[in-house]
Symmetry: C2
Subunit: 212 residues, 2 copies
DNA sequence: TAGATTGTTAATCGATTAACAATC
DNA sequence: TAGATTGTTAATCGATTAACAATC
Protein backbone atom coordinates (compact mmCIF):
# COMPACT_ATOMS: atom_id res chain seq x y z
CA UNK A 1 0.00 0.00 0.00
CA UNK A 2 2.67 2.49 1.00
CA UNK A 3 5.00 3.37 -1.84
CA UNK A 4 8.54 3.83 -0.62
CA UNK A 5 9.46 6.20 2.14
CA UNK A 6 6.87 8.80 3.09
CA UNK A 7 8.26 12.18 4.08
CA UNK A 8 7.34 13.57 7.46
CA UNK A 9 5.96 16.66 5.73
CA UNK A 10 3.28 14.47 4.19
CA UNK A 11 2.59 12.60 7.40
CA UNK A 12 2.09 15.79 9.38
CA UNK A 13 -0.58 16.87 6.92
CA UNK A 14 -2.57 13.64 7.30
CA UNK A 15 -4.23 14.53 10.63
CA UNK A 16 -5.42 17.80 9.12
CA UNK A 17 -6.85 15.97 6.12
CA UNK A 18 -8.58 13.61 8.49
CA UNK A 19 -10.02 16.45 10.51
CA UNK A 20 -11.37 18.20 7.45
CA UNK A 21 -12.77 15.05 5.88
CA UNK A 22 -14.43 14.18 9.18
CA UNK A 23 -16.10 17.61 9.18
CA UNK A 24 -17.32 17.07 5.62
CA UNK A 25 -18.53 13.56 6.47
CA UNK A 26 -20.48 14.80 9.48
CA UNK A 27 -21.97 17.53 7.32
CA UNK A 28 -23.24 14.83 4.96
CA UNK A 29 -20.94 15.67 2.04
CA UNK A 30 -20.51 12.63 -0.21
CA UNK A 31 -17.83 13.60 -2.71
CA UNK A 32 -15.00 16.11 -2.85
CA UNK A 33 -12.39 16.98 -5.47
CA UNK A 34 -8.76 17.77 -4.79
CA UNK A 35 -9.34 21.35 -5.87
CA UNK A 36 -12.28 21.78 -3.48
CA UNK A 37 -10.17 20.40 -0.63
CA UNK A 38 -7.33 22.68 -1.70
CA UNK A 39 -9.58 25.72 -1.55
CA UNK A 40 -10.89 24.79 1.87
CA UNK A 41 -7.53 24.00 3.38
CA UNK A 42 -5.21 26.53 1.77
CA UNK A 43 -3.14 23.97 -0.12
CA UNK A 44 -2.76 23.22 -3.83
CA UNK A 45 -4.76 20.51 -5.58
CA UNK A 46 -1.50 19.10 -6.90
CA UNK A 47 -0.07 18.69 -3.45
CA UNK A 48 -3.18 16.97 -2.18
CA UNK A 49 -3.18 14.47 -5.03
CA UNK A 50 0.54 13.86 -4.55
CA UNK A 51 0.04 13.31 -0.83
CA UNK A 52 -2.77 10.78 -1.24
CA UNK A 53 -0.99 8.96 -4.06
CA UNK A 54 1.78 8.01 -1.61
CA UNK A 55 -0.64 5.54 -0.08
CA UNK A 56 -2.77 4.32 -2.96
CA UNK A 57 -5.40 5.35 -5.47
CA UNK A 58 -8.37 6.59 -3.53
CA UNK A 59 -10.05 8.75 -6.18
CA UNK A 60 -11.84 8.35 -9.47
CA UNK A 61 -11.18 10.37 -12.62
CA UNK A 62 -13.95 12.80 -13.41
CA UNK A 63 -15.52 12.33 -9.99
CA UNK A 64 -13.06 13.08 -7.24
CA UNK A 65 -12.93 11.34 -3.88
CA UNK A 66 -15.68 9.71 -1.88
CA UNK A 67 -15.56 11.49 1.45
CA UNK A 68 -16.42 8.52 3.64
CA UNK A 69 -13.99 6.22 1.87
CA UNK A 70 -11.12 8.72 1.92
CA UNK A 71 -11.75 9.54 5.57
CA UNK A 72 -11.60 5.82 6.32
CA UNK A 73 -8.41 5.28 4.34
CA UNK A 74 -6.65 8.08 6.16
CA UNK A 75 -7.89 6.83 9.53
CA UNK A 76 -6.37 3.47 8.69
CA UNK A 77 -3.09 4.97 7.48
CA UNK A 78 -2.86 6.88 10.76
CA UNK A 79 -3.47 3.69 12.72
CA UNK A 80 -6.68 4.96 14.27
CA UNK A 81 -8.18 1.47 14.01
CA UNK A 82 -5.39 -0.22 15.97
CA UNK A 83 -6.84 0.24 19.45
CA UNK A 84 -3.61 1.53 20.92
CA UNK A 85 -3.15 1.54 24.67
CA UNK A 86 -1.60 4.33 26.71
CA UNK A 87 -0.63 5.24 30.25
CA UNK A 88 -0.21 8.76 31.60
CA UNK A 89 2.58 9.85 33.93
CA UNK A 90 1.90 12.93 36.00
CA UNK A 91 -1.66 13.84 36.96
CA UNK A 92 -1.12 17.54 37.56
CA UNK A 93 -3.27 20.17 35.90
CA UNK A 94 -2.13 19.25 32.43
CA UNK A 95 -2.42 15.52 32.99
CA UNK A 96 -5.86 16.08 34.40
CA UNK A 97 -6.85 18.18 31.40
CA UNK A 98 -5.98 15.25 29.16
CA UNK A 99 -7.62 12.65 31.38
CA UNK A 100 -10.85 14.56 31.77
CA UNK A 101 -11.23 16.32 28.42
CA UNK A 102 -9.23 14.69 25.67
CA UNK A 103 -11.23 12.19 23.57
CA UNK A 104 -8.63 9.43 23.34
CA UNK A 105 -11.06 6.83 22.09
CA UNK A 106 -11.97 9.07 19.14
CA UNK A 107 -8.39 8.67 17.94
CA UNK A 108 -8.17 4.97 18.61
CA UNK A 109 -6.47 5.10 22.00
CA UNK A 110 -7.42 3.44 25.24
CA UNK A 111 -6.06 5.15 28.36
CA UNK A 112 -5.42 2.39 30.86
CA UNK A 113 -3.90 4.05 33.88
CA UNK A 114 -2.45 7.24 35.31
CA UNK A 115 0.44 7.58 37.75
CA UNK A 116 1.35 10.26 40.24
CA UNK A 117 2.94 10.66 43.66
CA UNK A 118 0.23 12.85 45.23
CA UNK A 119 -1.42 10.71 47.95
CA UNK A 120 -4.69 12.59 47.50
CA UNK A 121 -4.90 11.32 43.91
CA UNK A 122 -3.48 7.80 44.23
CA UNK A 123 -6.22 5.20 44.50
CA UNK A 124 -8.82 7.48 42.96
CA UNK A 125 -10.01 8.08 39.43
CA UNK A 126 -9.70 10.99 37.01
CA UNK A 127 -11.81 11.09 33.88
CA UNK A 128 -12.69 7.46 34.48
CA UNK A 129 -9.04 6.39 34.67
CA UNK A 130 -7.53 4.83 37.77
CA UNK A 131 -4.60 6.68 39.37
CA UNK A 132 -1.73 4.58 40.74
CA UNK A 133 1.38 5.51 42.64
CA UNK A 134 4.45 6.23 40.56
CA UNK A 135 6.26 3.27 42.10
CA UNK A 136 3.74 0.94 40.51
CA UNK A 137 4.51 1.94 36.90
CA UNK A 138 6.97 -0.88 36.35
CA UNK A 139 4.81 -3.66 37.67
CA UNK A 140 1.71 -2.28 35.98
CA UNK A 141 3.40 -2.18 32.57
CA UNK A 142 4.76 -5.68 33.06
CA UNK A 143 1.21 -6.92 33.53
CA UNK A 144 -0.37 -4.53 30.99
CA UNK A 145 2.04 -3.54 28.22
CA UNK A 146 1.18 -0.16 26.74
CA UNK A 147 1.89 1.26 23.31
CA UNK A 148 2.32 4.85 24.41
CA UNK A 149 3.47 6.69 27.51
CA UNK A 150 2.17 10.21 28.00
CA UNK A 151 4.64 12.42 29.82
CA UNK A 152 3.01 15.21 31.80
CA UNK A 153 5.49 15.15 34.67
CA UNK A 154 7.64 18.14 35.72
CA UNK A 155 10.65 18.71 33.46
CA UNK A 156 13.05 17.41 36.10
CA UNK A 157 11.46 13.97 36.07
CA UNK A 158 11.18 13.72 32.30
CA UNK A 159 14.37 11.87 31.40
CA UNK A 160 13.94 9.39 34.23
CA UNK A 161 10.33 8.68 33.32
CA UNK A 162 11.15 8.36 29.63
CA UNK A 163 13.85 5.83 30.37
CA UNK A 164 11.48 3.80 32.51
CA UNK A 165 8.83 3.77 29.78
CA UNK A 166 11.37 2.77 27.15
CA UNK A 167 12.63 -0.03 29.39
CA UNK A 168 9.10 -1.31 29.67
CA UNK A 169 8.70 -1.50 25.91
CA UNK A 170 6.47 1.36 24.95
CA UNK A 171 6.55 2.14 21.23
CA UNK A 172 5.99 5.85 21.62
CA UNK A 173 6.26 8.72 24.08
CA UNK A 174 3.97 11.72 23.88
CA UNK A 175 6.14 14.33 25.55
CA UNK A 176 4.55 17.42 27.09
CA UNK A 177 7.55 18.39 29.20
CA UNK A 178 9.31 21.44 27.77
CA UNK A 179 12.47 19.41 27.78
CA UNK A 180 14.31 17.59 25.02
CA UNK A 181 14.34 13.84 25.66
CA UNK A 182 17.61 11.95 25.08
CA UNK A 183 16.29 10.09 22.04
CA UNK A 184 19.51 8.19 21.42
CA UNK A 185 19.00 6.58 24.84
CA UNK A 186 15.48 5.53 23.88
CA UNK A 187 16.11 3.04 21.08
CA UNK A 188 13.08 2.03 19.10
CA UNK A 189 10.86 4.58 20.79
CA UNK A 190 9.10 7.26 18.75
CA UNK A 191 9.02 10.59 20.54
CA UNK A 192 6.39 13.17 19.67
CA UNK A 193 6.86 16.49 21.41
CA UNK A 194 4.37 19.15 22.39
CA UNK A 195 6.62 22.01 23.40
CA UNK A 196 4.40 24.81 24.64
CA UNK A 197 7.41 27.08 25.04
CA UNK A 198 8.64 26.60 21.46
CA UNK A 199 5.17 27.34 20.17
CA UNK A 200 4.78 30.50 22.23
CA UNK A 201 8.20 31.76 21.18
CA UNK A 202 7.35 31.18 17.54
CA UNK A 203 4.23 33.28 18.02
CA UNK A 204 6.32 35.85 19.86
CA UNK A 205 8.63 36.11 16.84
CA UNK A 206 5.78 36.77 14.44
CA UNK A 207 4.12 39.46 16.54
CA UNK A 208 7.37 41.30 17.23
CA UNK A 209 7.86 43.84 14.49
CA UNK A 210 11.20 44.97 13.26
CA UNK A 211 12.68 47.51 15.60
CA UNK A 212 12.77 51.09 14.27
CA UNK B 1 19.53 43.06 10.93
CA UNK B 2 17.27 40.55 9.22
CA UNK B 3 18.39 39.76 5.71
CA UNK B 4 15.43 39.29 3.41
CA UNK B 5 12.63 36.90 4.17
CA UNK B 6 13.31 34.26 6.80
CA UNK B 7 11.76 30.86 6.15
CA UNK B 8 9.46 29.41 8.77
CA UNK B 9 11.69 26.33 8.89
CA UNK B 10 14.46 28.52 10.30
CA UNK B 11 12.14 30.34 12.69
CA UNK B 12 10.81 27.12 14.15
CA UNK B 13 14.35 26.06 14.99
CA UNK B 14 15.11 29.25 16.90
CA UNK B 15 13.28 28.29 20.11
CA UNK B 16 15.24 25.04 20.22
CA UNK B 17 18.50 26.92 19.75
CA UNK B 18 17.47 29.21 22.55
CA UNK B 19 16.61 26.32 24.84
CA UNK B 20 19.93 24.62 24.22
CA UNK B 21 21.98 27.79 24.56
CA UNK B 22 20.16 28.59 27.78
CA UNK B 23 21.12 25.15 29.11
CA UNK B 24 24.76 25.74 28.16
CA UNK B 25 24.68 29.21 29.69
CA UNK B 26 23.28 27.91 32.97
CA UNK B 27 25.92 25.20 32.95
CA UNK B 28 28.57 27.92 32.75
CA UNK B 29 29.72 27.16 29.20
CA UNK B 30 31.33 30.23 27.64
CA UNK B 31 31.91 29.34 24.01
CA UNK B 32 30.50 26.85 21.54
CA UNK B 33 31.23 26.02 17.91
CA UNK B 34 28.65 25.27 15.25
CA UNK B 35 29.90 21.70 15.07
CA UNK B 36 29.56 21.21 18.83
CA UNK B 37 26.01 22.55 18.68
CA UNK B 38 25.32 20.32 15.71
CA UNK B 39 26.50 17.26 17.61
CA UNK B 40 24.35 18.11 20.61
CA UNK B 41 21.21 18.91 18.66
CA UNK B 42 21.29 16.44 15.82
CA UNK B 43 21.71 19.04 13.07
CA UNK B 44 24.60 19.85 10.72
CA UNK B 45 27.10 22.58 11.46
CA UNK B 46 26.38 24.04 8.04
CA UNK B 47 22.71 24.40 8.77
CA UNK B 48 23.36 26.08 12.09
CA UNK B 49 25.72 28.64 10.54
CA UNK B 50 23.24 29.26 7.73
CA UNK B 51 20.43 29.75 10.22
CA UNK B 52 22.30 32.24 12.37
CA UNK B 53 23.63 34.13 9.38
CA UNK B 54 20.04 35.07 8.44
CA UNK B 55 20.10 37.47 11.35
CA UNK B 56 23.66 38.74 11.52
CA UNK B 57 27.21 37.72 12.30
CA UNK B 58 27.28 36.41 15.83
CA UNK B 59 30.42 34.30 15.72
CA UNK B 60 34.13 34.74 15.38
CA UNK B 61 36.42 32.79 13.07
CA UNK B 62 38.66 30.37 14.89
CA UNK B 63 36.66 30.75 18.09
CA UNK B 64 33.02 29.97 17.56
CA UNK B 65 30.14 31.66 19.34
CA UNK B 66 30.00 33.24 22.76
CA UNK B 67 27.16 31.38 24.48
CA UNK B 68 25.82 34.32 26.47
CA UNK B 69 25.90 36.67 23.49
CA UNK B 70 24.29 34.18 21.10
CA UNK B 71 21.61 33.30 23.63
CA UNK B 72 20.88 37.02 24.00
CA UNK B 73 20.74 37.62 20.26
CA UNK B 74 18.27 34.79 19.75
CA UNK B 75 16.16 35.98 22.67
CA UNK B 76 15.98 39.37 21.01
CA UNK B 77 15.16 37.92 17.58
CA UNK B 78 12.33 35.95 19.18
CA UNK B 79 11.01 39.11 20.83
CA UNK B 80 11.53 37.79 24.35
CA UNK B 81 12.55 41.26 25.51
CA UNK B 82 9.35 42.95 24.31
CA UNK B 83 7.26 42.42 27.45
CA UNK B 84 4.26 41.13 25.55
CA UNK B 85 0.89 41.07 27.27
CA UNK B 86 -1.64 38.24 27.07
CA UNK B 87 -5.12 37.30 28.22
CA UNK B 88 -6.42 33.76 28.58
CA UNK B 89 -9.90 32.65 27.52
CA UNK B 90 -11.24 29.53 29.19
CA UNK B 91 -10.03 28.57 32.67
CA UNK B 92 -10.81 24.84 32.50
CA UNK B 93 -8.19 22.23 33.30
CA UNK B 94 -5.96 23.23 30.43
CA UNK B 95 -6.30 26.95 31.05
CA UNK B 96 -5.53 26.33 34.69
CA UNK B 97 -2.48 24.26 33.80
CA UNK B 98 -1.11 27.25 31.88
CA UNK B 99 -2.08 29.79 34.53
CA UNK B 100 -0.58 27.84 37.39
CA UNK B 101 2.42 26.14 35.81
CA UNK B 102 3.57 27.84 32.64
CA UNK B 103 6.41 30.36 33.18
CA UNK B 104 5.12 33.14 30.94
CA UNK B 105 7.51 35.75 32.31
CA UNK B 106 10.47 33.55 31.38
CA UNK B 107 9.47 34.00 27.73
CA UNK B 108 8.74 37.70 28.00
CA UNK B 109 4.99 37.52 28.48
CA UNK B 110 2.81 39.12 31.11
CA UNK B 111 -0.52 37.37 31.67
CA UNK B 112 -2.98 40.10 32.58
CA UNK B 113 -6.33 38.39 32.98
CA UNK B 114 -8.27 35.20 32.51
CA UNK B 115 -11.92 34.85 31.49
CA UNK B 116 -14.47 32.12 32.07
CA UNK B 117 -18.20 31.67 32.65
CA UNK B 118 -17.95 29.46 35.73
CA UNK B 119 -19.30 31.52 38.67
CA UNK B 120 -17.11 29.62 41.10
CA UNK B 121 -14.02 30.94 39.29
CA UNK B 122 -15.09 34.47 38.35
CA UNK B 123 -13.81 37.03 40.83
CA UNK B 124 -11.07 34.77 42.08
CA UNK B 125 -7.46 34.21 41.09
CA UNK B 126 -5.62 31.34 39.43
CA UNK B 127 -1.85 31.28 39.44
CA UNK B 128 -1.88 34.89 40.57
CA UNK B 129 -4.07 36.00 37.65
CA UNK B 130 -7.51 37.51 38.17
CA UNK B 131 -10.46 35.66 36.59
CA UNK B 132 -13.21 37.77 35.01
CA UNK B 133 -16.51 36.84 33.46
CA UNK B 134 -16.50 36.17 29.74
CA UNK B 135 -18.80 39.12 29.13
CA UNK B 136 -16.09 41.44 30.38
CA UNK B 137 -13.53 40.53 27.72
CA UNK B 138 -14.47 43.37 25.42
CA UNK B 139 -14.38 46.12 28.00
CA UNK B 140 -11.23 44.73 29.60
CA UNK B 141 -9.35 44.70 26.31
CA UNK B 142 -10.54 48.21 25.50
CA UNK B 143 -8.97 49.40 28.74
CA UNK B 144 -5.95 47.06 28.61
CA UNK B 145 -4.99 46.13 25.03
CA UNK B 146 -3.25 42.76 24.86
CA UNK B 147 -0.80 41.41 22.33
CA UNK B 148 -1.90 37.78 22.52
CA UNK B 149 -5.10 35.92 23.26
CA UNK B 150 -4.74 32.38 24.56
CA UNK B 151 -7.63 30.16 23.49
CA UNK B 152 -8.33 27.32 25.91
CA UNK B 153 -12.10 27.35 25.43
CA UNK B 154 -14.14 24.37 24.18
CA UNK B 155 -13.96 23.87 20.42
CA UNK B 156 -17.49 25.15 19.93
CA UNK B 157 -16.62 28.57 21.29
CA UNK B 158 -13.31 28.88 19.42
CA UNK B 159 -14.37 30.78 16.30
CA UNK B 160 -16.50 33.22 18.29
CA UNK B 161 -13.73 33.89 20.79
CA UNK B 162 -11.13 34.29 18.05
CA UNK B 163 -13.27 36.84 16.25
CA UNK B 164 -13.74 38.79 19.45
CA UNK B 165 -10.00 38.85 20.14
CA UNK B 166 -9.24 39.92 16.57
CA UNK B 167 -11.83 42.68 16.83
CA UNK B 168 -10.10 43.95 19.94
CA UNK B 169 -6.78 44.20 18.18
CA UNK B 170 -4.69 41.31 19.44
CA UNK B 171 -1.65 40.60 17.29
CA UNK B 172 -1.63 36.88 17.90
CA UNK B 173 -3.79 33.98 19.01
CA UNK B 174 -2.32 30.96 20.74
CA UNK B 175 -4.89 28.34 19.82
CA UNK B 176 -5.25 25.21 21.96
CA UNK B 177 -8.67 24.22 20.62
CA UNK B 178 -8.44 21.21 18.33
CA UNK B 179 -10.23 23.28 15.73
CA UNK B 180 -8.98 25.17 12.70
CA UNK B 181 -9.57 28.90 13.10
CA UNK B 182 -10.92 30.83 10.08
CA UNK B 183 -7.68 32.73 9.51
CA UNK B 184 -8.99 34.68 6.54
CA UNK B 185 -11.55 36.22 8.89
CA UNK B 186 -8.80 37.24 11.30
CA UNK B 187 -6.84 39.79 9.26
CA UNK B 188 -3.52 40.82 10.68
CA UNK B 189 -3.66 38.21 13.42
CA UNK B 190 -0.96 35.55 13.70
CA UNK B 191 -2.38 32.19 14.70
CA UNK B 192 -0.16 29.61 16.37
CA UNK B 193 -1.83 26.26 16.89
CA UNK B 194 -1.23 23.56 19.45
CA UNK B 195 -3.30 20.71 18.09
CA UNK B 196 -3.06 17.85 20.59
CA UNK B 197 -5.06 15.62 18.26
CA UNK B 198 -2.78 16.16 15.25
CA UNK B 199 0.24 15.42 17.40
CA UNK B 200 -1.22 12.21 18.83
CA UNK B 201 -2.25 11.00 15.38
CA UNK B 202 1.25 11.64 14.07
CA UNK B 203 2.61 9.51 16.88
CA UNK B 204 -0.06 6.92 16.12
CA UNK B 205 1.16 6.73 12.53
CA UNK B 206 4.74 6.10 13.55
CA UNK B 207 3.95 3.35 16.05
CA UNK B 208 1.57 1.53 13.70
CA UNK B 209 3.59 -0.97 11.76
CA UNK B 210 2.78 -2.06 8.27
CA UNK B 211 0.02 -4.60 8.30
CA UNK B 212 1.13 -8.14 7.42
C1' DT C 1 -20.43 11.48 -25.60
C1' DA C 2 -18.24 15.64 -23.41
C1' DG C 3 -16.60 17.48 -19.20
C1' DA C 4 -14.29 16.73 -15.15
C1' DT C 5 -10.81 15.11 -12.43
C1' DT C 6 -7.55 11.79 -11.25
C1' DG C 7 -2.60 9.77 -10.84
C1' DT C 8 1.84 10.58 -12.43
C1' DT C 9 5.70 12.51 -14.86
C1' DA C 10 8.39 16.63 -15.53
C1' DA C 11 9.68 21.36 -14.10
C1' DT C 12 10.39 24.54 -10.52
C1' DC C 13 11.31 26.13 -6.34
C1' DG C 14 13.33 26.15 -1.79
C1' DA C 15 16.00 24.18 1.85
C1' DT C 16 19.94 21.57 3.29
C1' DT C 17 24.65 20.26 2.75
C1' DA C 18 29.34 20.80 1.14
C1' DA C 19 33.28 23.44 0.21
C1' DC C 20 36.42 27.10 0.95
C1' DA C 21 38.35 31.73 1.22
C1' DA C 22 38.57 34.97 4.96
C1' DT C 23 40.31 35.75 9.41
C1' DC C 24 40.51 35.45 14.35
C1' DT D 1 52.29 31.95 13.66
C1' DA D 2 49.34 27.74 12.86
C1' DG D 3 45.00 25.80 13.76
C1' DA D 4 40.31 26.46 14.11
C1' DT D 5 36.10 28.05 12.75
C1' DT D 6 33.27 31.38 10.75
C1' DG D 7 30.16 33.41 6.91
C1' DT D 8 29.04 32.68 2.32
C1' DT D 9 28.92 30.87 -2.27
C1' DA D 10 28.01 26.78 -4.96
C1' DA D 11 26.15 22.01 -5.33
C1' DT D 12 22.82 18.79 -3.98
C1' DC D 13 18.82 17.14 -2.43
C1' DG D 14 13.91 17.05 -1.57
C1' DA D 15 9.40 18.99 -1.73
C1' DT D 16 6.00 21.58 -4.14
C1' DT D 17 3.80 22.96 -8.35
C1' DA D 18 2.55 22.48 -13.14
C1' DA D 19 1.16 19.88 -16.99
C1' DC D 20 -1.16 16.25 -19.25
C1' DA D 21 -2.45 11.66 -20.78
C1' DA D 22 -5.67 8.35 -18.97
C1' DT D 23 -10.33 7.52 -17.96
C1' DC D 24 -14.55 7.70 -15.38
Amino acid sequence: MRKGKISTAVIRRLPRYYRHLDDLYRAGVVRVSSSALAGDMGLTASQIRQDFSCFGEFGQQGYGYNVERLRGEIAEILGMDRDHTAVLLGAGNLGRALLENFPFQKYGFRLEAAFDIDPSLVGGELGGVRVYHRDEIGSFLRAHPADVGILTVPGGAAAWAAGLLAGRGVKGIWNFTNVELPEDELPGVQVENIHFSDSLLTLSYFISEERP
